[in-house]
């Protein structure tokens, strides 16, 4: 069935296959491969996108149900040619190792700062508790967001 939605500010049309997830549809039909498929059960956050202003797991959204939604993926976070401050901070702090979790952290992190520009360390941890990283131990990720919290909008 056909689904019309907005992805990264552009009107897009999807031909979805049955109950497939929005994660699957973004990757297969729109070739947006940045959003990742590490667990497909909402347990890792690697598939995090923004949908109508919320950070959600795209693996848990039925693509058919995304009709009319405004979706932002990691590909839509950068500001033209310039990286978003969240992306820049993750790079600067060495918070990217294998990078598989990174798109999810970028989107969840952008969402965090949009809703809470100066989060405390506890708030950072709780807001990003749905994003698993197996490489970094979260230390560099925390440092990146603490610096962003200090810098403000």
């Amino acid at each position: 069935m056909r689904v019309d939605l907005s992805v990264n500010g552009e009107a897009r049309s999807l031909e979805v296959d049955g109950p497939e997830s929005l994660l699957s549809a973004l990757r297969r039909h729109l070739d947006l491969l940045g959003t990742k498929d590490a667990c497909e059960q909402g347990e890792c956050g690697s598939c995090t996108i923004m949908m109508d202003g919320d950070a959600v797991c795209s693996c848990l959204v039925m693509a058919a149900d995304a009709e009319g939604a405004a979706v932002v993926t990691v590909e839509g976070v950068a500001r033209g040619d310039a990286l978003h401050p969240v992306q820049e901070a993750l790079l600067a702090e060495g918070a990217v190792q294998c990078g598989f979790c990174t798109p999810g952290f970028v989107v969840a992190g952008v969402h965090l700062l949009e809703t809470n520009p100066h989060p405390s360390a506890t708030e950072i941890r709780e807001a990003l508790a749905g994003n698993i990283c197996r490489c970094t131990g979260y230390g560099a990720i925390l440092r990146a967001f603490e610096k962003l919290a200090e810098a403000g909008p």
């Binding site: 296959d17 947006l32 491969l33 940045g34 959003t35 990742k36 498929d37 590490a38 667990c39 497909e40 059960q41 347990e43 890792c44 690697s46 993926t73 990691v74 590909e75 950068a78 990286l83 992306q87 993750l90 790079l91 600067a92 702090e93 060495g94 918070a95 990217v96 190792q97 294998c98 990078g99 598989f100 979790c101 990174t102 798109p103 970028v106 506890t122 950072i124 941890r125 709780e126 990003l128 508790a129 749905g130 994003n131 698993i132 990283c133 197996r134 490489c135 970094t136 131990g137 979260y138 230390g139 560099a140 990720i141 925390l142």
Partner: protein, 739 residues
């Protein structure tokens, strides 16, 4: 620090240079194996055994073949070459040979036009089984002599005795590497009978060797390419889907892609060996070790993979970073119908570190001295002999500096206020400050670096000067650890230019870089890049009569005598090196010999808050000091230390792969839980740089030490908080409560 370097170059060694693949990774543009595709691509799927041990009584692929969109269904009889593969020993059938020996063993593979059809077709194959009794108990495996390797270490006097004796029995469960990136591979036939493979790996040359052997192909007919990989930690060291996807590509003449979902991933790769360890430590009244005896049993599961090497590691590191002249270790790694075990970060040294550090804690109690003082008293140092192998430790081994640096990190305050996230149980609001006891524990761990026991361990690199900058060519695999950056930094420093690009080569373009494992790549591939860069620099300087190479040319006494264009007038200039570390030997029948290429020591201190009534643990801090030789990239090292600590913490308190009758009961991220941001302790790191190692600029491998002594430090802290002798890892709430 070192002669022949150009201090002015940016992003050289000793800086926290940014990784060059970071931009694409934060932008979502980095191509992982699971992101690849090719024109006309088919999808592969695997049918697996639902039994830990069973015989196939009927196998009928016709229903799958009959489905629309299915182009190939392959079984063991379709394997053209060696029906068996394996890294150390070729003992695993490419596809089930009629008897399944572990739960999830591949039986058949399918190629179809889309993922859903491939999956359904795999399910449509008729497979009927006669279940057999699985061998799952290690004692029974020993009795039945179902053993991959048995080894003895005997050093010193068996009759030696000490007045203080501590004996204990310890167990560690199976840990899964759980990398976020799934198994994935794309095989593309080249139209001439050969193919290119883009699949997750830690060692493409060893994959290549097994693939051509099983497919009966000439080496040049198969090219294994490095690809983006979402973490490894040992899980990508062995073949998973490589031969399957290659067979499907050749059978259909079309590109075939295979990706495992998370549940399939749990059966699709090897895991950490579960272990049983009996230890007996004897010491004098002051706590000096007199004798250590150990009986180690590792469960290697259904096929050999790297079990023999893991056992050797466990046996040789069974005493840890301590001096002892009388050491008797009997180690066995057994074959069972449990899921195959293989490489996981720490590779045998993790299991024994838990055993010997629990023993050292108990010994300190028995002797009546501070646990750290006991470690200091017995600390193994440069110039000592390894307690197990008797090898003289010739490089640096700053055990005392590591312990002292760690002890110098201030201890944290108790949490103030009523924020539940600062208590065990977190937002689950289980605990209150009055129900919580704090404990502090230490552990020190020893590991070898690079391969051992006379293995011909080498890495090839080719460094090329072009007008546009330097290229470093290597077949080494970057799994996220930051090898790519270190290679750049080394070449920059030697060649005096920031313009260095690392070019990942496939198996046809350069020889092996060896495995990304054993904490070896910085030293081995870094060593090759260093030697090749030095060779290139010296060649260019000699050819152009200069004494210094800078980014814009050759200089003599401060004046430029040639430009880079001049240097490359006849084309790019290159230098190739096959880098080897100092030779190692096979151990004799008593485990004696110069078995290892080098040693690295690290220590961890854990602070835990334990709700003793509920058995819930908050890991408050894990601090560490680690022997790094020379810190080539401090920020990247800290990233590895913090990441390894998190894996060690997971193993200590929550990562419990439940295997029952050979069947994994919790093969999902819902039920095999790994630490989240809200479980992460604070970490302080101290990098101890004493050089004294053959790695580039004196750098040592650092990747595994963080997972080795972090787990026992946490268990030691829980023991201190609760007074319970905890003898099994992971420590579960019921263990702390005692029910």
């Amino acid at each position: 620090m070192t002669t022949g370097t150009t201090p002015r170059v940016r992003g050289g060694i000793g800086t926290s240079a940014r990784r060059p693949d970071g931009g694409p990774k934060v932008s979502g543009n980095f191509a992982y194996a699971s992101d690849l595709s090719a024109e006309g691509m088919l999808w592969g799927a695997t049918r697996r055994s639902p039994h830990a041990h069973a015989r196939i009584t009927r196998l009928d692929i016709a229903p799958a073949l009959a489905m629309t969109g299915v182009l190939a269904v392959l079984t063991q009889e379709d394997v053209p070459g060696n029906p068996l593969f394996g890294q150390e020993e070729q003992d695993q059938p490419v596809l089930c040979d009629g008897v399944a020996r572990y739960w999830g063993e591949p039986v058949a593979v399918v190629a179809a036009t889309d993922e859903e059809t491939a999956r359904r077709a795999a399910g449509a194959i008729i497979v009927e089984w006669e279940p057999l009794e699985p061998l799952v108990a290690t004692d029974e495996a020993i009795e039945r002599e179902s053993v991959y390797r048995d080894m003895q270490i005997r050093r010193g006097d068996e009759s030696a005795k000490g007045p203080i004796v501590v004996e204990g029995f310890y167990e560690t469960a199976t840990q899964d590497q759980a990398p976020l990136g799934p198994e994935a591979g794309l095989a593309i036939p080249d139209g001439e009978g050969g193919l290119d493979l883009y699949a997750v790996s830690q060692w493409i040359h060893v994959d290549h060797r097994q693939i051509i052997d099983c497919l009966d192909m000439a080496p040049e007919a198969v090219r294994c390419h490095p690809v983006g990989i979402g973490g490894a930690f040992g899980s990508r060291e062995d073949i998973s889907l490589h031969i399957h996807v290659a067979m499907l590509a050749l059978a259909t003449g079309r590109p075939v892609k295979m990706v495992y979902d998370r549940s399939e991933s749990f059966v699709g790769h090897v895991k950490r060996h579960p272990s049983k360890m009996w230890y007996r430590h004897e010491a004098d009244a002051f706590g000096n070790l007199v004798k250590v005896e150990a009986r180690l049993i590792l469960d290697g599961g259904a096929y050999a993979h790297t079990s023999r090497a893991v056992l050797a590691n466990a046996a040789f590191f069974a005493v840890g970073p301590y001096r002892c002249d009388n050491v008797f270790v009997h180690g066995s790694v057994v074959r069972t119908n449990n899921p195959p075990a293989g490489a996981m970060r720490g590779f045998g040294a993790v299991q024994v570190c838990f055993g010997y550090e629990m023993q050292m804690d108990r010994l300190a109690d028995a002797v009546g001295i501070d646990p750290l003082d006991l470690r200091r008293r017995n600390a193994l140092r440069s110039g000592d002999r390894m307690s197990t192998s008797g090898q003289l430790i010739e490089g640096s081994l700053p055990t005392m500096s590591v312990i002292d640096a760690l002890a110098g990190i201030p201890l944290p305050e108790h949490p103030v206020g009523d924020d539940p996230t600062l208590l065990p149980g977190g937002t689950g609001r289980t605990s209150s400050p009055s129900s919580v006891v704090r404990g502090v524990g230490y552990a020190v761990g020893l590991k070898n670096i690079a391969f051992s026991e006379a293995f011909d361990d080498f890495s090839e690199a080719r460094v090329v000067m072009t007008p546009a900058g330097v290229e470093v060519h290597t077949a080494a695999i970057e799994v996220g650890q930051g090898l790519i950056t270190v290679c750049q930094q080394i070449a920059r420093t030697i060649l005096g230019t920031e313009q260095v690009a690392v070019v990942w080569a496939d198996t046809s373009q350069i020889g092996s870089a060896g495995s990304t494992s054993a904490s070896r790549q910085t030293q081995m591939t870094g060593g090759a890049v260093h030697a090749a860069s030095v060779g290139l620099r010296d060649r260019i300087l000699a050819d152009h009569g200069g004494d210094e190479l800078r980014d814009d040319g050759v200089y003599l006494e401060g004046r430029r005598v040639s430009t880079i264009e001049d240097v490359c007038a006849d084309g790019p200039v290159e230098f190739f090196v096959r880098f080897r570390h100092p030779e190692t030997s096979k151990p004799d029948e008593n485990g004696q010999g110069d078995v290892h290429a080098g040693f690295v020591v690290a220590a961890h201190r854990a602070v835990v808050d334990v709700d003793t009534e509920l058995g819930l643990v908050r890991v408050v801090r894990v601090d560490t000091a680690q022997d790094v030789g020379t810190a080539l990239n401090p920020q990247a090292i800290v990233g590895q230390l913090e990441g390894g600590i998190m894996q060690g913490a997971g193993f200590a308190v929550m990562e419990h792969l439940v295997i029952d009758g050979g069947v994994i009961r919790n093969p999902t991220f819902t039920d095999y839980v790994i630490p989240t941001f809200m479980d992460a302790p604070e970490v302080a790191t101290r990098l101890i740089e004493e050089g004294g190692h053959w790695g580039p600029f004196g750098a040592k491998g650092i990747g595994e030490s963080p997972t080795i002594s972090s787990t026992p430090a946490i268990v030691s802290a829980i023991r201190a908080a609760t007074g319970r002798d905890l003898t099994r890892v992971p420590v579960l709430p019921q263990d702390i409560v005692g029910i």
